[in-house]
């Protein structure tokens, strides 16, 4: 990569950072509205269950169950936000390096990016792709291997 490539790469990295910022802002507002609506549905169902007669209670239980399923599904946004934020921060670090020419050394950049991850599968993907540097593209089945569905929703009392 010569100086001209680096000169052209810097604004594209910054553009990606700004696009991710805008997308996250839009998504957060909508996710908040949606989660509020689902939470309200669950609260109304619980109120009917606790205050109504037998028939009302029986009708309230499926509403509560649906609201609980929706609440679980909606938590995707929290995980998605974290992943996108980590990508955004990694791109911002790369931009700082290529734009100024006096940023952190590459090793330090890689260490900082890995340290910013908050999910185990993110670290596993990073180690498989970046730490070894041997494989340029993660295939679908490999992504599935790095997922940890068994840990999602797990409860461990110490």
């Amino acid at each position: 990569m010569d100086q001209d490539d680096i000169h052209n790469l810097a604004p594209l990295l910054l553009l990606a950072v700004r696009q991710l910022d805008a997308a996250m802002l839009d998504a957060s507002a909508e996710a908040e509205l949606l989660s509020r609506a689902v939470a309200s549905l669950g609260e109304r169902g619980a109120h009917l269950r606790d205050t109504g007669g037998d028939t009302t209670q029986a009708k309230a239980l499926p509403i509560i169950a649906d609201a609980q399923r929706a609440m679980r599904a909606l938590q995707f946004h929290d995980r998605l936000s974290q992943r996108v934020t980590h990508v955004r921060d990694a791109l911002a670090r790369l931009h700082a390096v290529v734009a100024t020419g006096e940023g952190e050394e590459w090793r330090k950049v890689r260490e900082a990016i890995r340290a910013s991850f908050t999910m185990e599968d993110e670290r596993q993907i990073f180690d498989a792709l970046v730490a070894t540097g041997s494989r340029p593209k993660l295939q679908r089945d490999e992504r599935d291997e790095h997922r940890d569905p068994a840990s999602s929703g797990s409860v461990e009392i110490f």
Binding site: A31, E32, S35, V38, A39, A46, H77, D78, S152, F158
Partner: protein, 119 residues
């Protein structure tokens, strides 16, 4: 009514935890990060704490350590609710004084069952 302090920097996560807890009859107090939670806890008692790990200003594991140093919070159950699932982080949480560890996304019915065991 038992009161639970729930700590998460995500507004939508706080809403969903709050709705789950209120539907089971618990009172809920919310904080957006560890610092805000600690400031509340210094002047108020709660029956249980549910905290995220990664948050701005003060993370959840630091919060648990700080809370355990307060006389009113030595015996209060404290659960971590987080996307983190590594054994190292869990051990860190346990050493800080966490009672248990729940990996997001949480199952509302399972969360309520866990609280009933602890309270």
């Amino acid at each position: 009514m038992r009161t639970i302090l729930t700590v998460d920097d995500s507004t939508s996560m706080r809403q969903m935890v709050k709705a789950t807890l209120q539907s089971a009859g618990y009172g809920v107090v919310e904080a957006a990060d560890g610092q805000e939670a600690l400031e509340y806890a210094r002047d108020n008692a709660v029956d249980l704490v549910i905290s995220d790990v990664n948050m701005p200003r003060m993370d959840g594991i630091t919060l648990i350590g700080e809370l355990r140093a307060l006389p009113n919070y030595r015996l209060v159950p404290m659960l971590m609710l987080t996307t983190e699932s590594s054994q190292e982080k869990k051990l860190e949480g346990k050493r800080a004084g966490a009672t248990g560890w729940i990996v997001k996304p949480f199952n509302p019915a399972q969360l309520i069952a866990t609280l009933k065991k602890l309270l």
